[in-house]
Symmetry: C2
Subunit: 553 residues, 2 copies
């Protein structure tokens, strides 16, 4: 009983996304989730953002298992990248849908021979010093599990994303009884979802969305296009049910929508009545009032089916007056602009739009403040570490914990890389471990140098000037007219005077250097850079990247 339990968040703290938590006892590790996030607008050209998992790479030999709470990208998306960098792949566990979605993802990455195993609530996963138990909770995707990780020091509950939905679409509510049992037996540490800590009250039950959708459908005379998250299989179920009860056929549009519905059907999570599905290419064969299209693109994603419909270049669906597009989702923070643009283009095409501002046609998958308090009361933990949230939500979750009676000293507001260390005598933060973000850019993964992003920012803001000067090897004198090339710099082509003045500035700079007896290339280039940058700023009030190239002949 003298060991130290270490809880090390590698992602998801002080941010929304890339959730990853390392649970460690006696030097042996279980990783809960391996998520990613999508890049911010100033992370130019970056495809994906992953947690810095140097710690896992260095401790690969000590990882007993990776357990996955559910199949969303912010909880499983980094897995292929993590696995590729571990010398030794540990077994991976998750619910049946989670495993099916992850397997499909690993196949795309050509990762075979991964020990991927589905588990069910109540199963026991043996992982070194830990006994790990999945506990059923509800979320906006089926097969969402919290994990109770028990070692000799006590039990840690990592909740994943959850809500206490009393009428979930699959009829299996969160296992409150088991949470209460765990609480009664004593939980050492609760790591709970903070996503909706800023919303008062209770979240809407998923099954209340269905009647609202049917109600909205019943007022539409023409075609209906519903967009939602492709992984929200219970939402898709409710759209199918509403369509069915109104005698409409259903077409699925968008690659991930078709894929997830297929996986969901195979696993019995969605029940599609015989004969209701039609192929996208048949859409124009059915009368408008007999059709519902379910589409990806609820976040205004650039290449999504709905975005292409809005731009008028989707192959199968040409939006027009009489159509109604229903957004059964809210914009994830940061996507508001893309969603608004999509909505406005749809209006421009003459179709109508219904969003969650018009009717309660979406339910969040994350519990609100009262649900977070219920979790705290059920589990009655010794220590609390709020996870999955930016600084605001972590703070608000901590305040909720205080409100239900957890002592302020037993609540730990962590940061990525800051391990909470618990022994028999107490809990405190240990020294920080390496954490942060790494980028996926094309096929490369790594700690992108700041300089590359800084260059991209300069390039995107003001373009680039390249000067090629050909000078004599002997004395550094210019032996040919300098060549000036620019990209991303507007208004220059038409301005012969400016181009000629630029060329003069280069020639002058070279002449000055030659007069000063400078013929070392790097020095020539530095002078050329400084002179040209100053000239450009004076004339154009812009700071493009200036790149001098001196060729010696």
């Amino acid at each position: 009983m003298s060991g130290t339990l270490r809880l090390l968040p590698l992602g998801g703290l002080g941010e929304i996304g890339k959730n990853m938590t390392v649970v460690e006892y006696d030097g042996r590790i279980v990783v809960v989730d391996t998520g990613l996030r999508f890049p911010a607008p100033d992370q130019l050209g970056i495809d994906l953002v992953l947690p810095d998992f140097t710690y896992l790479r260095e401790r690969a030999a000590d990882i007993e298992a990776i357990v996955l709470t559910h199949g969303h990208e912010d909880h499983v998306g980094a897995l292929p990248f993590v696995l590729r960098q571990l010398d030794r792949a540990p077994p991976i566990y998750g619910g049946p849908l989670t495993v099916a979605m992850v397997r499909s993802k690993l196949d795309e990455h050509k990762l075979k021979d991964v020990r991927l195993q589905d588990v069910r609530p109540g199963d026991e996963i043996k992982a070194g010093p830990f006994s790990v138990e999945p506990v059923k909770l509800a979320h906006s995707i089926p097969d969402m599990f919290a994990y109770a990780l028990t070692c000799e020091l006590g039990t840690t509950l990592v909740t994943g994303d959850y809500k206490f939905d009393q009428t979930p679409v699959d009829g299996i509510p969160a296992d409150i009884a088991r949470l209460a049992e765990l609480g009664r037996d004593g939980v050492l540490l609760l790591c709970g979802d903070s996503t909706n800590a800023d919303r008062a009250g209770w979240s809407l039950s998923e099954s209340l969305v269905g009647p609202q959708l049917e109600d909205a459908f019943s007022r539409c005379d023409g075609r209906i296009i519903v967009t939602s998250f492709a992984s929200n299989i219970h939402r898709v179920q409710q759209v199918v049910d509403a369509a069915s009860s109104l005698g409409r056929k259903v077409a699925l549009v968008g690659r991930s929508m078709r894929k997830n519905v297929n996986i969901g059907r195979e696993l019995g999570h969605i029940d599609v009545p015989q004969g209701i599905l039609v192929e996208p290419k048949q859409i124009e064969d059915f009368p408008d009032e007999k059709l519902v299209v379910i589409s990806t693109g609820s976040q205004g994603e650039p290449l999504s089916a709905l975005r292409r419909m809005a731009a008028g270049d989707h192959r199968q669906v040409h939006l027009r007056r009489g159509d109604t597009v229903i957004f059964s989702a809210t914009p994830i923070p940061g996507n508001e602009r893309a969603v608004n643009e999509t909505v406005d283009r749809i209006y421009h095409l003459g179709a109508d739009v219904i969003t969650t501002k018009d009717a309660p046609i979406h339910a969040s998958g994350h519990g609100y403040a009262e649900e977070i308090k219920l979790m705290l009361n059920l589990v009655d933990p010794r220590y609390v570490m709020p996870v999955h949230g930016d600084h605001k939500r972590i703070r608000l979750h901590a305040e909720l914990a205080e409100a239900v009676g957890v002592g302020p000293k037993d609540i730990f507001k962590a940061e990525n890389g800051l391990p909470l260390e618990i022994t028999e005598s107490g809990a405190r933060f240990g020294g920080p471990e390496q954490a942060g973000m790494i980028f996926v850019d094309g096929v490369d993964v790594g700690d992108i140098e700041d300089v590359a992003l800084r260059d991209r920012r300069m390039l995107s803001a003001d373009g680039i000037f390249i000067v090629v000067a050909t000078v004599s090897e002997q004395d550094g004198r210019s032996v040919a007219d300098p060549e000036i090339i620019f990209r991303g710099v507007p208004f220059i082509d038409d301005d012969a005077e400016l181009v000629s003045a630029l060329r003069d500035a280069v020639t002058d700079s070279l002449a000055r250097s030659a007069a000063d007896g400078i013929n070392e290339i790097s020095l020539l280039q530095t002078h050329l850079h400084d002179d040209l940058a100053e000239f450009v700023y004076r004339r154009m009030k812009r700071r493009p990247l200036v790149l001098p190239v001196v060729v010696e002949v």
Copy 2:
């Protein structure tokens, strides 16, 4: 009475921002507003977006007057750029505050000798065939006027931005009586604000914000930092009043906040009690509970005072535990991410944040649906052209007009550049005029070539590869090792194998061209570009801008 009245919107239709409307009769023009908008994230490196005002430049001789509804950037911001390009500057009219703000702006642009004249409600502006009358309305800035432009064919009312605030802070509500008189006498055309056509009911009165602010203040023990729009002088008044009644001093932080309060005080729009103002550098001299700071930055603008406080690098205000930052503003669509980031950094510093989600501490300056209907009923126009709105809001405004009994054929959903032509026998759209956007980029203004923006997008996404090859003038053979330079391309520096393979690819390409007898530079460059681009894509799955430079010696 045989003339044609033309209403030509040059901005503000199918978008939010850069409002500009041309009203024309008998070939003579009055321009209502000359606004700008701020660039979208994909308009890389652009500073400002202006309406394409080619039409005004070509018709400069025919412009009788420019009338300005109020001093917001989306209504006056393009004025310096327009004036600089007109051969002949027309007289410009606006309310006293509008004129003072515009004068300060023109001074910054070193535009002197502009005929800028302040007018008051009920004044008559003679402008060629038009008699133009300012009508007092309420908005989130003082001195907001609609304009009634009367020619022999009838009266056009251009509303500007308005709400029917029954208890405005200055005690002078919208002049409903005058609007009703105009309606009784007959209004031919109403061009009305559509901004809040999607919000049901009535907007909140500005003067109800004050007590809410005071209520929030009274619950704060430490320093209070309030952020709002600097031009919302009545809001600043209410913050000052709340501070005063609770015995707190007030410091103004941020250049535009100080400037606007000064102008507002000179014109009597704001009444600051003696001795309440303290200088920003004195902030630390006062006890926390005796201070309110009013700051710019409510939209998370990168260089604003509040954003710098949140980043921990504001000179006078160092946010800390105990401080409360109050956002007395909502994010303008598109700014949500910047605002959320700012809020979260403030939480990270330990301070508290109150936003409009927590208390009704902001009121919109634009009337909601019922107010738009009231305007329609008061003015009772023959024709309606909704303005100031994206496609969605234009459509919703049109539906409101139908709801109060305007015939669908008398409602014109216009677009930028599409003129509405009205004669005695009816109204219809005429042929389109040049319209769109032009960009301000550094000191240049113009129709930025798509190619420059496309290049900036490529540069920002994947960086640039430059290859400098030195070849013999005789036979095109490479005479020196090719030089390869890259910017904004990560991961390469460490990859000696890749760099060497790149160089080989260049050498191979040149050798192939030489073997094929190709020695024309442009052709050499084309081959080099294609070969290298393909190589880079195959190896790195990226499409940087590839720029070959061939130097002949």
